[in-house]
Structures are given as C-alpha cells and as structure tokens.
C-alpha cells in the first residue's frame, strides 16, 4: 500500500541535476550555477539538521557553528601550513617522509608568508611549495567538526528541548565572538581567505575549466549534497533512524527497551556535525573567504526555517525545502512599488519567510514537502486499517 512514486521521482530529479549544467546555456549561466551551488550548500545543512532535530529530537542551534569549525579548520591549514621540497631553515618546520612541513606564524592581517618568501628566494629552480592537499584540509575540518560534535553531544546529554536550544545558541554565539576576536589567527571580520577548489583549474571530459569556473564547483557541491543525502537516508532508514526517533519520542521508554540512547545521541551529533563541517570547508574554498558572520543566528534560523517548511522529519523533504527557499530568497530580491510606495524586498522577503514558517508550524506540522510526500505514501493506510478491522469482525 505504501507508494514508491516519490522514490522514483527522486532519482529522476538527481539525474536532472547532474545533466543541468551541460544543457543550460543562458547568459546568466554563472549566476544560475552560483544559485544552485548555494542551494545545495543549504540543502546539506537543512537535511543533516533534519536528522539531528527531526529524527533525533536534538533541537540544536549549533549546526552552523560546526560548519564554521570545518571552514576555519580547513582555512587555517590552507593559510598557515605549507609543504615544501626543501627546508627553509628559518620558519618553524618539521620533516615528514617525502616533504618538509612549514608552520607559518599566524600574523593576523599581516603577511604570514614572510619567512617562506625569504627562503624561496634562495632556493634553486625546481624546488616546490604547495598548500596542504585540499582533501586533507577538508578531512581535517570534518574531523574538527565531528570532534566538536562528540563534545557537544556529551555536554547536552541531559539537556532537553528548550535547554538544549539555549545551550547551543550560547555556544554558537561564543564561537562567533571568538572567531571575530582572535584576529591573529582568523583575521576577524576581515575574513580568512581560502584558495579555490581547483587552484590550477581542472579538465573535465576534455574541456578545461579555470579556477573561477562554476561548473566544477557545481559538481563538487552536487556530489557532496547527493552523497550526504544518500548517507542520511541510509541512516534514517536503518535501525539507527528507528532508535533516533524512539529516543526523540521518549528517551526513558527507548532505554527500557534496550536502546543505548547515550550512544546514538552522541553518534547523531558527531555525524551531522561532521557533515556540516565538510560543507563549510568546501564552501570556504568555493567562495574564497570565510567570515565569522556566516554563523549569525539569522543564518541558523534560515536553515531551521528551510528544514521546517520542507519537513523536519524527512531528510529529503528538508533538502527540497532548502533548495526551493534559497531560490525563492534570490528571486524575491526585486524591489517593487505599490501605490507609490517602494517596497524594499531585500528586507521584506525575510518577513515573507517568517510568515511562511509560522503558517507551516501552525497548520502543517509535517512541513509542506513532507506533508505532500506523506499524503502520497500513506494514502491507503486509513482505508487499510478500516478494511482489516471489518474483516476480523466478520470472521468472528
């Protein structure tokens, strides 16, 4: 009785997203690609937050804080750690098999590379200097986020609902303040620059793309998004998803039925934090600059609104909600005039989403997308229940 139509539609949608950049060719190509990349980026947050909050019941506001940890973790490696083929003799450094690792002194908005530049001038031709490989940076960021997730997961074990939310709001704000204040390391509000995803460009199917080209970044973010979604779906549908929902519903009852609630709560924090951190590191490299303001409460609220409007208890619905809303946010930017009064849409569009959020919470607790999916998937359930009851009554 459970319909499989939404699943098929999902595969078709994923295929269309893969083909889209190859067939789209309008003049605003780069702009549209950028919108999609941003949409995927938000969809990663909304869907992973849906697992944490919708499945696990952990209504955390620290999701973007984990993102920032991932981004800054990668950014610090990107800016202050280099691999060279020769020792500099002047910088702080140590050798590893096959390379020399140079640790530059963080110098805030000043130039950190002074000792490296000086050493390079004396080196023979052919000596190489490279940044820490991108994948390693991203893995480091993800590890940092996951580790923080474990710590937060442990700290909030005994906190429920409102207290968990307050705790994580505080935590997120503390991190933002620290990132703003520790200018020597993070360059504060000036932001930490990051190298592009493909510093030397990349060749895909015989076509070369420069470092600033949108298409490679589109595929990187799409891959991360679809990979994340596949992982989240797998978790959600496995016994882990069942355990998470059971502890969301009633922790004591779940525990009394043999569910190790502490373990799974921690696990969902680690997993979703690592996902957020990975997305943060990748996005940092794509945008080229990371700032503390990416984790203001408004941004976190936006992620929550996306997940809630899409559907909190369904990772796919949350992702679709995020994609629709990030596009809507962009297209609602256009100002217009009503009866001689100009409406500033850059501000008013947020009012629109506030209203949409309130209406969803009031009338569609399952969210717009998830509500529709549930309607399709569970259409026959009520009738089935009644039919079965009638059948048993007749046999009596």
């Amino acid at each position: 009785m459970i319909s499989h139509a939404p699943k098929a539609a999902g595969y078709v949608a994923a295929a269309l997203l893969v083909l889209f950049p190859l067939f789209y060719s309008a003049g605003n190509y780069d702009f549209v690609m950028h919108l999609w990349i941003t949409a995927f980026y938000y969809a990663i947050f909304a869907s992973s937050w849906a697992l944490l909050a919708g499945y696990g019941g952990q209504f955390s506001f620290a999701h973007l804080a984990f993102m920032a940890l991932g981004a800054y973790g990668a950014g610090i490696l990107d800016n202050y750690v280099f691999l060279t083929s020769l020792p500099t003799g002047t910088c702080t450094e140590f050798g590893i098999p096959g390379a020399n690792v140079v640790l530059l002194p963080p110098s805030g908005t000043g130039d950190a590379t002074a000792c490296l530049t000086a050493a390079r001038a004396t080196w023979p031709e052919g000596a190489t200097v490279s940044r820490v490989p991108l994948l390693l940076q991203i893995a480091f960021g993800a590890g940092l986020g996951g580790g923080a997730g474990w710590l937060i997961g442990t700290l909030v074990l005994r906190l429920r609902a409102a207290y968990l939310a307050l705790f994580t709001v505080g935590l997120s704000e503390i991190l933002r303040a620290v990132l703003s204040a520790e200018i020597w390391l993070t360059r504060g509000q000036a932001g930490l620059p990051m190298s592009p995803l493909f510093p030397d460009g990349v060749t895909i199917l015989g076509t070369s793309y420069g470092p600033a080209a949108k298409l490679p970044a589109y595929y990187v973010m799409l891959g991360l998004f679809l990979g994340t979604l596949a992982l989240l779906l797998w978790v959600a549908r496995s016994r882990i998803g069942l355990f998470l929902r059971s502890l969301r519903e009633d922790e004591d009852a779940a525990e009394a039925l043999g569910v190790d609630t502490v373990k799974w709560k921690r696990a969902v924090f680690v997993l979703t934090a690592a996902i957020a951190a990975t997305a943060g590191a990748v996005q940092g490299h794509y945008v080229g600059l990371i700032t503390p303001n990416t984790i203001v409460l408004l941004q976190m609220s936006l992620v929550i609104a996306m997940a809630v409007i899409g559907g909190l208890e369904n990772v796919v619905a949350a992702a679709i909600g995020a994609i629709l809303i990030s596009f809507a946010l962009e297209f609602l930017r256009t100002d217009f005039t009503i009866m001689g009064h100009e409406v500033d849409m850059t501000t008013w569009r947020l009012v629109f989403f506030g209203l949409l959020l309130m209406l969803t919470l009031r009338f569609l607790r399952n969210g717009v997308i998830q509500g529709a999916l549930m309607w399709i998937e569970r259409r026959g359930v009520g009738a089935q229940t009644v039919a079965k009851r009638r059948a048993t009554e007749e046999t009596k």
Binding site: M1, L242, R248, L257, T261, Q384, T392
Partner: protein, 255 residues
Amino acid sequence: MITLDVKDIRKKFGSHQVLNGVSFRIEGPELVGLIGPNGAGKTTLTNVLDGAIKPDGGTIRLNGKRIDPLHPYEIARSGLGRTFQVTRAFRRMTVLENLYVPALAMEAGVNRKEMEEKAHEILAFLTIDHLRNEFGRALSGGQQKLLELGRLLMLDPDVYILDEPFAGVHPSLMATIYKWIERVNGEGKAIILISHQMESIFTLCRRLLVLNFGDLIADGPPAEVKNDPAVIDAYLGVEEDMSGSGLLRQEASHA
C-alpha cells in the same frame, strides 16, 4: 531457571526514605503481585529494578548476574523489561515500528523476516493487527497499553514488570491483557504485576508483595497476605482506597 534476587535495596530522596531495605527473591515462572498504598515506593522500586534510578544500597541479581550497576538499556538486554504507569508508546512512529525498536536493539543482525512475522503474530494476539501502519498517537489509551505489552514481548525478557496495566482499560481489553499475562507466564517467564485493582491481583497472582512506606511488610500467598493484620492496617483496610478495599471485603466475605 530464571531468578531475580533483590537484596536490601535502599533509596532516599532527600531526607525521605522511599525504599527501606527491600529484599525478595523470585524463582522460575512466578506471577507476583506488588501492592501497597500510593507513595509506598512501588514505582520507585520498579525504577530501581530497571536501572532508571540507582539505589543507595543493596544489590539486584538477575539469573545470578549483578544488574544494579548497569544502565537501563543493559538491564533490558540482560532480561528485565517493564511497562510504564503512564503509557509511553512512541507516538510519531507506526505500531510496527514501535515493535521493531526492542527487536533491533536486542540484536543488530536480527532476521528481518522473522522479526516481521513475530510482530504480526503479536499484534494479532493483541487484537490490534489492523492498526499496524497507524501512528502510535492514533491509538486509543487502551490500545496504547496493548502496544506497550506488544513491545515488551518483542524484547522478550525473563522478568516482566507491569506497572498498572489495567488502569483505564475497558473490560474487553482487560481480557486480552489477561490472556497476554497467561501467555507470557506460560512461556516460563516471571511477572511482577503492580496494580490497585485487587480483583485482578487476587485472580492472577499466586504470591503478593506488600510495600508500605518503603518497607516490605508482607510476602506470601494472597490468602495469607489478605488476612495479615499489618497489611489490613496499612492498605486493604483503608476505607478511602476505593479501588481495592470494597472489592476485597466482598471477596473476603465470600471466602
């Protein structure tokens, strides 16, 4: 053989001694009633047994293995399961999903097909099979009680503790619960039944434990406990206790 050995359990909340050295031993497929006035410590004892509350002193051994230092989920997996006084169905999960939680928690690699068949069999037994794809919240109060009993069967512990399974349950559902208790007991499992419904307790149980202000004041066959002056004084004889005393008096006079 199943054994539950409870020795000298003590628990204080602040200066209030809730359990004052409670000891008893259950051997084999016993069906034990745990009764006592409100505030006697019945639910606290249950919470101590299932690990939700750690006792200040004393030991609990299940089948010879000490379980009192364990987490509740470890105790559940060791073979002690319980229901709650206030029903705790997973409301936003389907009836089947409710049943799968304990099965999957017990064994990661459980055979899915066997698990599903077992769940269907249990739901049919409990007369709620037609509701299997409905959410827990769609069930009536009585049906949610049945759902809790079904979940417990999926956990399949050695010792079942039922906290007020009859509270607010219609007589027709009551028959199902009676059947359920007979089935579990017939499978060789021990049951501790907490209830204020003296009729059920006296019908079902062959042994009664009576708690009063944290003390175990009686332990024996119902006929014996019923006439124990200390028990009558503490519990059965109290006129205000509408749930039990009237019925019991009738029964006592018939006996």
